[in-house]
Symmetry: C2
Subunit: 257 residues, 2 copies
DNA sequence: GAGGTCACATTGTCCGGACAATCACGTCCG
DNA sequence: CGGACGTGATTGTCCGGACAATGTGACCTC
């Protein structure tokens, strides 16, 4: 039978870590970042053992709880797996990034494309029943409305319609053309917390087809999203339409144990 | 019991918790479950403070790290928010469930529908290049193939095609009609870890329309998914098609701080 | 040789304490 | 009256240790 090779354990790990106690960065965070970098660059091979926590702590001059905290954060990210009695090992699969609350802008940017934005509308309007329910305001109340066309390689990719509470944010049209909405919100001190999404599909109307360069009746990917900040306040309601021929949602998700 | 002192905050913390030290269930887990139940039933109102950790620990006869571990698990679930200098409070928004690696079967079941499954195919086949790449086997190698039609209220909702490594699982056709694939895998001792998904849309072919009861060219929602267990092995590759007129993906997602 | 048993290694849980960082709030001063 | 400042409250980080639970592998028995 196959004998478990012993060099995966390795009496001494070839990878060295170190922490800077004078830095304001928490020690566990320093360590978790170094571990993550080592995993991503392959210096810690998939499937390899990490060496037991106690020895690792001693080697770094840290306590075991601190080392555990660092490891745990990577387990939560799906990069490591712990097994009682065995050890902690690097996950085999190609974990890229779990599903994030990312804007389309970031999606395209990380995909190597150069997203462009054309702001079609930047005004205020009266909330419809749907928008009012999503944002938690009265029907007919004034809300901000932004409509944008997102392009990649000069081609339309998506039509984005966002409703926001008035006064939440200063929505400069030129800033909206430079970056994504979420970045603006974060920059304004809003800490995003969670979002409720619905992803579906439908056929393009004549108007939608015109805007996106698709024939009427072409399949479109739709997403509706309400985003909340950490006080539970709804800060955005988006109703977006993507060209199915040019875009798909790709993401990785983890099983919550 | 010492000082009850003045609860100057909101004077709203009459909820009592208790732990059973003779139980094999970890203490932090007992506490987190009770907290979660209290939040879901509304006994802990949204926005209300939780009372500081040290006092809570003293009241329960637990140490602060244990209480923190319980609270942290709920913070990770998005139910609580911690603020330094302020306290821990229940989030306002209607957090339902974060995106899970759930089967369509579970989705429909929790939606109150009674899903039915018709197994169209349960056999083995030779892996195409796409399947081979996803499952990490050689092209042309034998893999299991299952095709199912999922119905709700007697109407077709989705066509599911799954490829699996041979010998991984005993796929009884009658069991496939009773429950979802993921439940079978879990029951077989496979611990799911992560999945890579792609969600898109396209127009129905004539054959697809026939199967799902849609006209040719109707918009369909598509999902491709490769699922990995905790050893990094690909255990399933799914290629699914949903009727956009009858189904949409709904989920909640959390921002990774 | 097959199967069960036991020691060992490793992570899981829990404790008690210490100090730092941050935020809300009241106080003091201009 | 308003802004700067200090103070208290609360969570964040970190330590060192103890015992339990679990899976592996070697050893022993049959």
């Amino acid at each position: 039978m196959g004998k478990r090779d012993t060099d995966s354990k390795g009496a001494e790990s070839p990878v060295q870590f170190s922490v800077d106690r004078s830095s304001p960065v928490p020690l566990y965070f320093q360590l978790s970042q170094q571990l993550e970098a080592a995993i991503e660059t392959g210096r810690l091979a998939p499937g390899s053992l990490l060496g037991n926590e106690i020895e690792l702590a001693g080697r770094l001059g840290l306590s075991r709880p601190t080392v555990r905290q660092a490891i745990q954060s990577l387990v939560d990210k799906g990069l490591l797996v712990r097994r009682r009695g065995i050890g902690t090992q690097v996950v085999h699969s190609q974990v890229k990034r779990p599903l994030e609350l990312s804007s389309l802008y970031d999606d395209l940017e990380t995909a190597g494309q150069k997203p462009a934005t054309r702001v079609l509308l930047n005004t205020t309007t009266e909330a419809t029943a749907e928008v009012a329910a999503a944002l938690g305001v009265a029907e007919g109340a004034e809300v901000a409305l932004v409509e944008r066309l997102r392009l990649a390689h000069g081609e339309p990719v998506a039509h984005l319609r966002n409703h926001l509470p008035v006064g939440l944010l200063d929505l400069g049209t030129e800033r909206l053309e430079e970056t994504g909405l979420y970045r603006l919100m974060r920059a304004a001190g809003i800490t995003l917390h969670s979002a409720r999404q619905s992803v579906g599909a439908r056929a393009a109307t004549a108007e939608e087809g015109e805007r996106l360069g698709e024939p009427e009746g072409a399949p479109l990917l739709t997403m509706q999203r309400t985003t909340f900040d950490d006080t539970g306040r709804a800060v955005e309601f988006g109703s977006h339409v993507y060209r199915a021929s040019r875009y798909a949602f790709e993401f990785q998700l983890l099983v919550r144990p």
